[in-house]
């Protein structure tokens, strides 16, 4: 990669700060490698923002690949499916790398020769215009698709929004350790365009913007396909924070989504490019969301884009990579800014696992020895939503609920940038989360 290309790996943030994303330089352009199906898949029943599913299988049941194994009648949920053909070994608790705690999961032991697997009813791309949007939305729901950018919001809920005037596809891939979205754009341009067409049909919108971080010329095939469909590919400033849904809307449309509202309330829906691809797979190939691309990077030099079944334990991924599990001190699932840690090698991937990062045994936690705040103000200079992290932290420590409310602690988007630039290494996240949750609780 030439030096000029590095521009989009230095992410520009507010206050003149930068986030270094060059760690993914080694993996950009690396084709996806398929990780073999694990012996035992651990499928969490809750893999979306919202209430937990109920298991609809029992220990001893035989299941096919793609068969639904957990569901809920509640509206804002997404079912989960067996990623392999096999036998339900047990239903029990396992560590959940999205929640950072143990939660209920279905353990499926793979059996060889388990048949073709189960698929969903599919549609023809050419018949999209004649297909009722409701049928498409229902199919997305049945496929268990959630926002794959990390948030995990059930996709069908967004796609059934009414009065939408603009669809934004987030292909900015803002996290410094995630490169799978861009790789998907290189490997599956046609499917992405089909997925966007399907989403536009469901939302009944004509105005679609496809946002990227790096020069459009890097995605010539995808750009041509988008151009044919009249979809604009727009390069916006390389920035980690602007990957956040509401901030992306402001960047693209210049509109501020009010606090308490959701993007559909102002007529906008944002979807991640991996979600778009999952929608395409579900609608046109009948495949529920049982696998996804993710980027594995370690500070030991390993860097791969992998295609992994949902529910694959970390140990199986490391085995595929030829890496010893004991090599790491900390393993992060998802973004290095927002992701939770794995408890051990048995921690399984979930639908929102877009990256895994391994910190080696010699790594030292940069926040291990915080010093007293020097009031440099870096934390509020960089805050993308203009709150005051240090004042919130102080109010939280003092238990001053009224001040927390006035400081709008509930607006924190948990991006982690305040900690990232703190010269005395204060980790704001636990305080800000607690403060936000206290204020939200009081507002109810």
């Amino acid at each position: 990669m030439s030096g000029g290309d590095e521009n989009f790996l230095t992410l520009k943030e507010k206050g003149g700060f930068e986030v270094d994303a060059t760690m993914k330089r080694g993996v950009e352009g690396e084709e996806f490698e398929d990780v073999p199906d694990p012996e035992v898949s651990i499928v969490h029943l809750r893999q979306h923002v919202g209430r937990e599913n109920e298991p609809i299988v029992e220990p001893g049941d035989e299941v096919s690949e793609g068969e639904k194994i957990g569901d809920s009648e509640r509206a804002e949920t997404a079912p989960v499916h067996s990623p392999v053909s096999g036998v339900v070994e047990r239903i029990g608790e396992a560590y959940h790398a999205g929640l950072g705690e143990r939660s209920e999961a279905v353990f499926v032991r793979r059996t060889d020769g388990g048949g073709e697997g189960e698929t969903l009813p599919s549609f023809e791309v050419d018949e999209l215009e004649e297909t009722q949007p409701e049928r498409l939305v229902e199919a997305v729901k049945e496929a268990g698709i959630v926002g794959l950018g990390g948030a995990g919001f059930p996709a069908h809920v967004k796609l059934s929004s009414e009065g939408i005037s603009h669809l934004i596809i987030n292909a900015k891939e803002s996290d410094p350790n995630v490169a799978c979205d861009v790789q998907l754009m290189h490997e599956r341009p046609r499917e992405i365009v089909d997925g966007i067409r399907a989403m536009a049909r469901m939302l009944e919108v004509d105005d679609v913007t496809f946002t990227v971080r790096s020069p459009e010329s890097r995605f010539s095939e995808l750009k041509s396909s988008l151009d044919e469909e009249g979809i604009t590919m727009t390069r916006i400033k390389p920035s980690y924070s602007v990957g956040q849904e509401k901030l992306l809307i402001e960047e693209v449309l210049g509109e501020e989504c009010p606090c308490g509202d959701f993007p559909p309330d102002i007529g906008v829906v944002v979807h991640n490019v991996s979600t778009v691809y999952a929608v395409c797979r579900a609608l046109f190939e009948g495949e529920p969301l049982i696998s996804r691309g993710l980027t594995f990077i370690s500070d030991g030099g390993e860097a791969k884009n992998l295609w992994v079944k949902v529910g694959t334990p970390l140990r199986d991924i490391l085995r595929h990579l030829g890496v010893e599990p004991g090599k790491f001190r900390r393993v992060v699932f998802g973004s290095l800014f927002m992701g939770e840690t794995a408890s051990g090698p048995e921690t399984p991937t979930i639908k929102t696992t877009n990256g895994i990062y391994g910190f080696g045994a010699e790594w030292e936690d940069p926040y291990a020895d915080p010093q007293r705040c020097i009031r440099c103000g870096y934390c509020n200079e960089i805050c993308p939503v203009d709150i005051y992290p240090i004042l919130i932290l102080e109010a939280q420590k003092e238990g001053d609920a009224s001040r927390l409310r006035k400081l709008h602690a509930e607006d924190c988007i948990d991006c982690g940038l305040c900690s990232y630039v703190c010269p005395v290494r204060i980790k704001f996240t636990p305080f800000l989360r607690r403060a936000a949750s206290e204020v939200r609780e009081k507002m109810r």
Binding site: G16, V19, D20, G100, P176, E250, E256, C257, P258, C259, G260, D261, E324, P325, G326, F328, R329, R330, V331, V332, L336, F337, G339, E340, T341, A342, S343, G344, P345, Y357, F359, A361, D365, P366, Y367, Q371, I374, R375, C376, G377, Y378, N380, V385, D386, Y388, L391, K406, L407, H408, D411, D414, G416, S419, Y420, V421, C422, P423, K427, T429, P430
Partner: protein
Amino acid sequence: MSKGSSESYEGGFPPHIHSGITKDEMMVKTFLVMLIPAVVAVFAMGIQALYHIATAVLTSLSFHYLIFFLETARGTPTYRSPGSSLVAGLIVGLAMPIAGPIYATFVVAALSMVVFRWGQEKVFGEKRVNPAAAAKVLVLVGISLLFFLPEHLELGMIFHPHHFDWVNLLTAEGFQSSIAFYETETLSAAESLVFWKDHGWIGGGSGIAVLIAGLVAIPWVKIKWRIPTAVLLTVGALSVSMAVVTGGSVVDRIAFHVFTGSVIFMAFFMATEPQTSPLTEIGQYLFGVAVGLLTFLLQLVGVLGGSVIALVVLNLFTDRLDTLVWKKPFGHRGD
């Protein structure tokens, strides 16, 4: 927290990476930036400027290590690295008058380190006033009191060398005759104030060098740029107003009130000291405007070290300023 094993990994809240910015890095950058006016001042004012600067820096470092070793012997030291002491020392050096005795610089640096830096931390648990400014004010007041001792009048006038008849600043004629003090064989008073002075505050040896250093510090050190902006705009606006009201040269007024060493140096490198200045944006603007206003008023009545006095006074309101007005967060701007 234990290191990872093959069966368990270390937990921890996100984020898991850090930019690498450290307090020491901030201090080193600040020190390097301040070397710009320091070096220029040595050329403009001569070797005596170097003696003052070296005295201040070495005194600060000596007291830093003295405190460090004494505290380490008993427990945990208040300051682990000498970075901020280095900066504090250079600030003291640059904030002293070239005509002052070296021992005054030593005393200010020592007071700054022991009483106003370490002492404040011990008594209040934080710094409430800028240590260098507070130490300088204390010494300034002390030396000024020497006015009242006839045999020390000359020494007492060190801090008031050119405006003993301070009322002059309130008239055009008086002002012009007052700043004639800055004229040289080749430079007008305004040019001298802006570019090259051989007397006055060391940090103001070259106003333009301080300005350049300040402009470098804004993006590089990420100093609280709103404060010097507000200070300088306030003083500048008041200078223009004064020139309009009293008559006389606007350029000379701006050159004098903005570029006297203590003002511009204070605005960029003392008023932005993190712990003693507001961290909210609006707080910084208010702080800067108030410091500028008070500085100007003190200048008018002949207190030419007035900028540091203004700073120390406003330092006391920092906490209050941080709670006065908060900007509206994203998502509330249409409220």
